[in-house]
């Protein structure tokens, strides 16, 4: 036995021999035990040889059988419970946002699918140290009793994964993951109230996820849930006891999750998310109550639902060979031609004929009997055939008008432009890019109120004021932050937590006074299927394309490989039946070349319009500045002359002023009494542009006059945002 083993490894003859000796000696005990079973001993030896250990052979720690005991299914829930960052729960602050976001996204999807104008209530309240309760309710269709536990308590359960249709949610992970996170961090169950029939009472569940089995557990009503009592004293008691906040609606769903979280204003906050959601979804009404009890209302600007996105068949270009084979096997079609026309979008029967001919197959062949080689030919023929892009009605753009309105509603600026690209296809999935841009106006930092600043300072976890400014406000870059701090007289390393009242006043004033136009960096808003993307900008195809675009050509300043600077906000919306995200937490769009190309074209389109505006304005402004420079010095000159020769100072000043005005006439032409730019030649800009005169204080900007070629924009109801 031993010999045969040694023969197997002839190259190691000499070395293993000595190894064998020592190992024999070492294993003396084992041998004594294993005398009865020489075969096993030999096996052990062979293992030693195989490893070619020079001196010591490692002890076997476990046998395959033993290991098999530990090998078992990993449930999805367990996997994600351990890898919560994949779903966007990496830190307490993000966890809160992700929870709200998943719930709101689901609500909007449900409302739109059911054809209901969405109305959303969001309430966040503090329940303890680092503990928050997030309640999100919609007026959606409601969910039938039997499905509630699965939808909220089971990962990877949903309606959206298996179809090609434009929607916010995709996988069916989000809300159940949020619930799971809540249960994991606080031990409190997820509370769901849902009503789908106005005649029946709302139903109430308390849920928990069994992470091992990926199964929901219902805690109340002996695993059946309970009905909400009829309005009255009993109802009050019931609601009070369970901490419910059901807003009475004929149909809708409310989910309440208690979780470990951190609430913080500023970039990437719940407030920010809801505001951006309002931009991309002008048909939605949102009521939001923040942890301080402040209420925000984003009223809908449009009373029409966006057109219902159609579910589509896969497009031949997006299919893979293996996929095609499976489809061939499982189809109900009897002929190949029928199979092609019924399983794919945009394949007409004549096109199917062409494809079959190219693949050297009969149109009447039975799809189930197509062999391996033939299906490969068919695949190639499909890829080479000229097939029109998938139907476009399956992706619904927000639309140029609504983009302009939405952006104008939230971002105060002087110039707005939007562009909707024609649909295109990546891997057979139709998608569409929309870009919008707002230019001019003041940054968010300028319009912030003293109280809000105070609160932000209290909440921030930034170590230095500079960091606080850069992270807390969109549009403030390093330069601008430095300017503000210098103006306010702080050192860059001042801590935001320890400011005295007078110091905050100073900071607030500096933020209002400093001209941020120079130091501002472009503010980028990213949307995928109308959902704002707030994290991982660096990994996102949108940000990458914005940085790769040469904005200098459009009149902005931009350092190499960076975001351009200036008072600019750019919004990019990727709409698709399947948005390719880089991770399950849906934070960044993957860089498919087709998507990159469309984004680039979209950005270039808005960029060209921007450059027209910037150049024009620059010219006017230069003239204006010229005049300002002259005006500044005229007084001094007049005084000096008066002192030398005694001429009347004021008369001289007026005379000089006249000359100055004549010298800078160009500035006059386009400057009205208020000193702001009005352009008579707007028609040049085309249809997708909105130019706003705004002189009035900022809050009024939302209701301000809108001048532009977009008549519908100015006549449409302005969304109102009020704080109570």
């Amino acid at each position: 036995m031993e010999e045969s083993v040694l023969k197997r490894t002839p190259a190691k003859k000499s070395a293993p021999k000595s190894a064998e000796k020592s190992s024999k000696h070492e294993d003396a005990e084992d041998e004594a035990v294993a005398v009865a079973e020489p075969e096993e001993q030999a096996e052990d030896k062979s293992a030693t040889n195989g490893h070619a250990a020079p001196a010591k052979a490692p002890k076997r720690r476990a046998t395959a059988e033993k290991m098999a005991e530990g090998q078992r299914d990993i449930s999805v829930s367990e996997f994600f419970a351990k890898n919560r960052h994949l779903l966007g729960f990496d830190n307490p602050r993000k966890a809160l946002l992700t929870t709200v976001k998943e719930a709101v996204d689901n609500s909007l999807d449900a409302c739109e699918e059911a054809g209901i104008l969405p109305e959303i209530w969001v309430h966040i309240e503090v329940t303890g140290d680092n503990r928050y309760k997030a309640g999100i309710q919609d007026n959606g269709p409601g969910i039938v009793k039997a499905q509630i536990p699965n939808i909220f308590g089971k990962l990877l359960y949903g309606s959206k994964f298996h179809r090609l249709r434009m929607s916010r949610g995709q996988q069916g992970i989000g809300i159940s993951a949020a619930g799971m996170y809540g249960v994991l961090t606080t031990g409190r169950p997820v509370k769901i109230v849902s009503r789908h029939d106005p005649k029946k009472p709302a139903h109430y569940f308390e849920l928990q996820i069994d992470t091992k089995k990926n199964k929901p557990e219902i805690l109340n009503g002996k695993g059946e849930g309970e009905d909400l009592p009829k309005p009255g004293a009993e109802y009050e008691k019931f609601v009070e006891k369970r901490g419910l906040e059901w807003v009475e609606t004929p149909h809708g769903t409310r989910v309440t999750i208690e979780l470990e979280a951190k609430y913080q204003r500023g970039r990437g906050s719940v407030d920010d998310y809801l505001e951006q959601t309002a931009i991309a979804n002008p048909h939605v009404t949102i009521h939001y109550k923040d942890p301080d009890g402040k209420e925000y209302h984003y009223a809908r600007a449009v009373d029409v639902l966006p057109p219902e996105p159609k579910e589509i068949l896969p497009h031949p270009y997006g299919i893979e060979l293996g996929n095609l084979v499976t489809m061939l096997q499982s189809t109900k079609a009897t002929t190949l031609s029928q199979f092609l026309t019924s399983s794919f979008s945009r394949v007409s029967s004549s096109k199917a004929g062409d494809v079959c001919e190219a693949a050297k197959l009969s149109t009447r062949a039975n799809p189930g009997r197509i062999g391996r080689n033939d299906s490969e030919n068919l695949y190639k023929a499909l890829q080479n055939a000229k097939i029109p892009p998938p139907s476009t009605d399956c992706v619904c753009p927000i639309g140029v008008q609504k983009l302009l309105q939405g952006l104008h509603h939230v971002v105060p600026a002087e110039f707005y432009v939007a562009e909707t690209r024609p649909p295109s296809v990546y891997r057979g999935n139709p998608f569409l890019i929309e870009c919008a841009l707002a230019y001019g106006g003041s940054s968010q930092a300028v319009k912030i109120s003293f109280e809000a600043l105070n609160e932000m300072l209290n909440e921030t976890d930034a170590r230095t004021l500079r960091q606080f400014l850069i992270n807390g406000f969109s549009g403030i870059g390093g330069d601008a932050a430095d300017k503000i701090l210098t103006e306010a007289g702080f050192g860059t390393r001042a801590s935001p937590g320890k400011l005295k009242k007078e110091e905050i006043v100073k900071l607030h004033e500096a933020m209002r006074n400093v001209n941020l136009e120079e130091g501002q960096t472009m503010n980028v808003m990213r949307f995928a299927n109308r959902v704002p993307l707030q994290f991982q900008p660096g990994a996102c195809a949108i940000t990458q394309m914005i940085m790769n675009t040469n904005w200098r050509a459009y009149g902005l300043t931009q350092s190499r490989g960076g975001l351009p600077s200036g008072p600019v906000t750019v919004m990019v919306h990727v709409a698709s039946v399947w948005v390719p995200f880089t991770s399950e937490s849906k934070e960044a769009v993957a860089s498919y070349p087709e998507i990159q190309k469309e984004i680039r074209l979209g950005l270039q389109a808005v960029g060209r319009k921007l450059s027209m505006f910037v150049r024009k304005r620059l010219k006017v402004r230069q003239e204006g500045e010229r005049r300002n420079v002259f005006l500044r010095y005229l007084g001094e000159v007049a005084t000096a002359v008066n002192e030398i020769n005694g001429r009347d100072r004021n008369k001289l000043y007026d005379a000089l002023l006249k000359v100055a005005k004549r010298k800078t006439e160009v500035a006059d032409k386009k400057i009205d009494e208020s000193g702001k730019f009005v352009d008579e030649e707007e028609a040049d800009f085309g249809e997708n542009v909105l130019i706003v005169k705004h002189d009035e204080p900022l809050p009024a900007a939302t209701g301000g006059t809108v001048e532009g070629s977009t008549s519908s924009a100015s006549s449409a109801k302005k969304p109102k945002k009020k704080k109570s």
Binding site: R626, V629, F630, R632, Y633, L634, G635, E636, V637, T639, A640, V641, E643, I644, N645, R647, L652, A655, L656, K658, V659, A660, R662, K663
Partner: protein, 381 residues
């Protein structure tokens, strides 16, 4: 300084205005009237300021100094880049007018503070710093064709002198052999009405570059041994020093020898003393000393005096650039010895300061170096 009016302290009473002052006032008024006329007729006012750059400087070969050409730069009020300096020019003019009328004088810095204020309705200052106003003052000088002292302005004193000469400075008799360790501080304005020469026993003037070297000469009583005046100008000599040297040279017929660093900056100091500066070419006639000689340091001195390596200062890019510029100046261009001097320095790749001689011996420069050069008449012209 122009005539100091006797009645300057008569508290608001009209001061006596000298003929010179009247001339200056007339020029000032002409500038102001011009603005008014332009404004009345709707034209944009402008000033023609004689250009103070190399392109507007001509080397007069017979007189052997720099002369200002007829070139002017137009300074317009309604030109974005010139508006501010136009305003400043008028401001300076009005300031000078005030000084003349009140019969007072002030320093350049004084005028700067007098006129510096925030422009109404802005955060901008009329003058950001003194350099701003100094250069405008020079512009006004050339525009009005009036000297600084005629505008009642003076610069801060720089430069000292020691030697067997007695001045009458503003009425005080000053014996420059008895001025202590610091010597006589040369005033900014050395016109005959301020300084008169009373008695001079010196045979020549030795002008050195900076204070350190000057003190060596003063302490070693070089002036006593060699019967000369030793002066320095603290680097590039100010106008007062140049004017005084000019007067001593012309009125008392004292030859001038210069002991300067062997680097482009030293060469240019010599050039300024000899044929006037490019910037103030209009003053050359009152200041240039075409007969001034350059006795050192020479680029050959490193070998000649057997200096140690450690006193070498490597030329930087700026030095090399400047040296090449100077070699191209017309008044250096035709002088073979000078071309050779500059080429040698560039070839060696290092410069030498006068102070480097101290490394030989503390009094090497006064006891051996300068006497030897003077004895051998070894200098550059």
């Amino acid at each position: 300084m122009a005539k100091k009016p006797a009645s300057s302290k008569s508290g608001g009473a009209p001061v006596n205005v000298s003929v010179k002052d009247k001339k200056t006032l007339t020029s000032l008024r002409r500038v102001a009237d011009d603005v008014a006329t332009c404004a009345d007729s709707g034209r944009a006012p402008h000033l023609d300021v004689p250009s103070r750059s190399l392109s507007n400087v001509r080397f007069n070969k017979t007189k052997r100094f720099l002369e200002m050409g007829g070139g002017t730069n137009r300074r317009e009020l309604f030109n974005l880049s010139q508006a501010k300096s136009y305003m400043q020019t008028l401001l300076i003019s009005s300031g000078c007018k005030r000084l003349i009328e009140q019969g007072k004088t002030t320093s350049l810095r004084g005028l700067y503070y007098m006129l510096k204020h925030t422009i109404e309705g802005t955060k901008e200052e009329t003058f950001e710093d003194q350099e701003d106003s100094d250069s405008v003052i020079e512009d006004v000088e050339v525009t009005l064709d009036s000297l600084r002292e005629e505008m009642h302005l003076y610069a801060s004193n720089r430069g000292n002198l020691v030697g067997p000469i007695t001045f009458i400075d503003n009425g005080d008799t000053i014996d420059c052999t008895r001025m202590g360790s610091a010597g006589y501080s040369i005033p900014s304005i050395c016109e005959p009405d301020v300084i008169q020469f009373k008695d001079c026993k010196a045979d020549f003037i030795l002008h050195v570059e900076k204070d350190t070297v000057w003190r060596r000469f003063a302490e070693d009583k070089f002036w006593k041994k060699h019967n000369c005046i030793v002066s320095h100008g603290g680097g590039q000599p100010p106008r007062g020093v140049r004017r005084l040297l000019h007067r001593l040279h012309n009125e008392l017929k004292l030859p001038v020898y210069c002991l300067l660093d062997n680097d482009p900056w030293g060469y240019y100091i010599y050039s300024v003393l000899k044929q006037g500066s490019i910037n103030l070419a209009f003053e050359s006639v009152r200041m240039g000393i075409p007969e001034a000689k350059y006795i050192g340091l020479r680029s050959k001195d490193f070998d000649r005096c057997k200096l140690s390596n450690s006193v070498k200062i490597n030329l930087n890019d700026q030095d090399i650039k400047r040296a090449k510029q100077i070699a191209e100046y017309p008044w250096f261009k035709d002088k073979k010895p000078w071309q050779k001097e500059i080429q040698t320095m560039l070839g060696q790749g290092f410069k030498l300061e006068v102070e480097s001689l101290i490394s030989k011996d503390i009094s090497y420069v006064t006891e051996e170096y300068v006497p030897a050069r003077l004895q051998d008449k070894d200098w550059l012209d």
